[in-house]
Amino acid sequence: MSEVQTVPVTLRVNGEEKRILVEPRKLLSDTLREDCHLTGTHVGCEHGVCGACTVLVDGRPMRSCLLYAVQMAGRAITTIEGVSSDGQLTPVQQALHEAHGLQCGFCTPGIVLTMEAWLAENPAPSEAEIRDALSGNLCRCTGYHNIVVAIAEAAARLRQAKAGE
């Protein structure tokens, strides 16, 4: 077993640069929570199944438990804390709020970040497509129904907003 060795890495999280020292084995999810003090990224299964720790890396949703912080030099990371910049909820967040698409809220940050990217790529999804996309985020409270309703509503609002531009 080698000795504990840390390496410097500069993370860019929600537009802010942070220089930290990490062991190469440190998960991005743990680094966000412990070194960046951004505890909105939730840690569930730690092997890529539950989706709770999903963040955006260069705009793409990825499991932060399957990334090591040392790999993230030069990447732009967005966590739930950075998804909205002006204090307003995003359409996805607003629709989840209105449709009671969350109860305990543990899975919600992962769902929001996944859907922000997915709706940009799939602006007019069917209910079946929404359910398929949601299959990567486990929720043990809602039974998913209200999340599906919320995502459909968010999609409709995003389409309206785009049409009005």
């Binding site: 077993m1 080698s2 504990v4 060795q5 390496v7 062991e23 190469p24 084995r25 998960l27 743990d30 299964c45 730690e46 092997h47 890529g48 989706g51 999903t54 890396v57 793409r60 949703p61 990825m62 499991r63 438990c65 399957l66 990334l67 090591y68 040392v70 790999q71 996944t114 990217a117 997915w118 398929d132 996309a133 299959s135 990567g136 985020n137």
Partner: protein, 288 residues
């Protein structure tokens, strides 16, 4: 669920990655997308002393057509396979199969080279590589070599890759279509939940010449240590529903299915018959 300690380096060229492999020997492991490796590291099922991260190897990201082949860089993400114009045009089965891997977030990070080198017997891409007669481009210090899919997958999680070698690209022959020859493809899998590894997967290619349907390739995944070819079980015929049912029954009856304690061989043989029937039906629909 935290990995054992490892040291880390991130070369920026293939030559640099090969030098790192040569220097580190067996203690090193290549990490690409890490969507299979990172869970194994986190659960300490794998404990390599050193990780060589190839995500910075921009030269492995290109997708191009070269000498009647579609050449896909090993670092191409599954999500890119699903939407890239050349992949959709030249290897639509691959684009579709990639869209069924894991979940949306997994597909943003996982790579074609990683999936092939990992060689999970229930994974989509090894079986598709076999069905499409793909060859793996492998780099080592002495140069590059091409290994056909049929020789690349050696056993469960085991490939023809040597410890000092790196998978750099996948070469897929372009389909040959003209007015007297139409080709169609089918891809089906059965998994109990969306995103789970499949219990059985089937990929096939059908060719119509002069009104007669032949099956030059049919590959099966999930039934043994590697994906296997099974087109020999399909006799050329009319392509109607009776022929499809007969062909699917023949494929399922002839398949060597490994017993496993969780899912009975009998159930998987039934799944294989159903997936083969659907895949052949899809291929007939897609003849063009």
């Amino acid at each position: 669920m935290k990995p054992a300690r490892f040291s880390y380096e991130a070369p920026t060229t293939v030559a640099g990655a090969l030098a790192a492999l040569a220097a580190r020997g067996d203690e090193a492991k290549i990490i690409a997308g890490g969507q299979s490796l990172a869970p194994m590291l986190n659960m300490r099922l794998a404990q390599p002393g050193h990780l060589i991260d190839i995500n910075g190897l921009a030269e492995l990201e290109a997708i191009r057509v070269e000498a009647n082949h579609l050449v896909i860089g090993a670092l191409t993400r599954h999500a890119e396979l699903t939407r890239h114009g050349l992949v959709k045009e030249c290897a639509p089965m691959l684009a579709h199969a990639a869209s069924t891997i894991g979940h949306y977030a997994i597909r943003q990070r996982g790579t074609i080279g990683g999936s092939l080198a990992h060689a999970d017997p229930a994974a989509q891409l090894p079986m598709v590589a076999l069905a499409l007669d793909a060859s793996m481009e492998i780099a080592c210090a002495e140069g590059r070599r091409l290994v056909p899919a049929a020789e690349f997958f050696v056993s469960i999680f085991t490939t023809a890759l040597q410890p000092d070698e790196l998978l750099t690209a996948v070469h897929i022959p372009l389909p040959v279509s003209h007015k007297d020859r139409r080709e169609g493809w089918g891809f089906r899998l059965f998994a109990r939940r969306a995103g789970d590894f499949a219990l059985v997967l089937v990929a096939c290619r059908l060719v119509e010449t002069g009104g007669r349907i032949a099956c030059p390739r049919l590959a099966i995944g999930g039934i043994g240590p590697t994906p296997v070819r099974a087109e020999d079980a399909v006799t050329p015929g009319t392509g109607d529903s009776k022929w499809i049912a007969c062909a699917a029954g023949g494929v399922a009856a002839a398949a060597g299915i490994e017993e496993n304690e969780r899912i009975s061989g009998e159930f998987r043989r039934e799944l294989l018959a159903a997936c083969t029937k659907d895949a052949l039906g899809d291929a007939m629909e897609r003849l063009r």
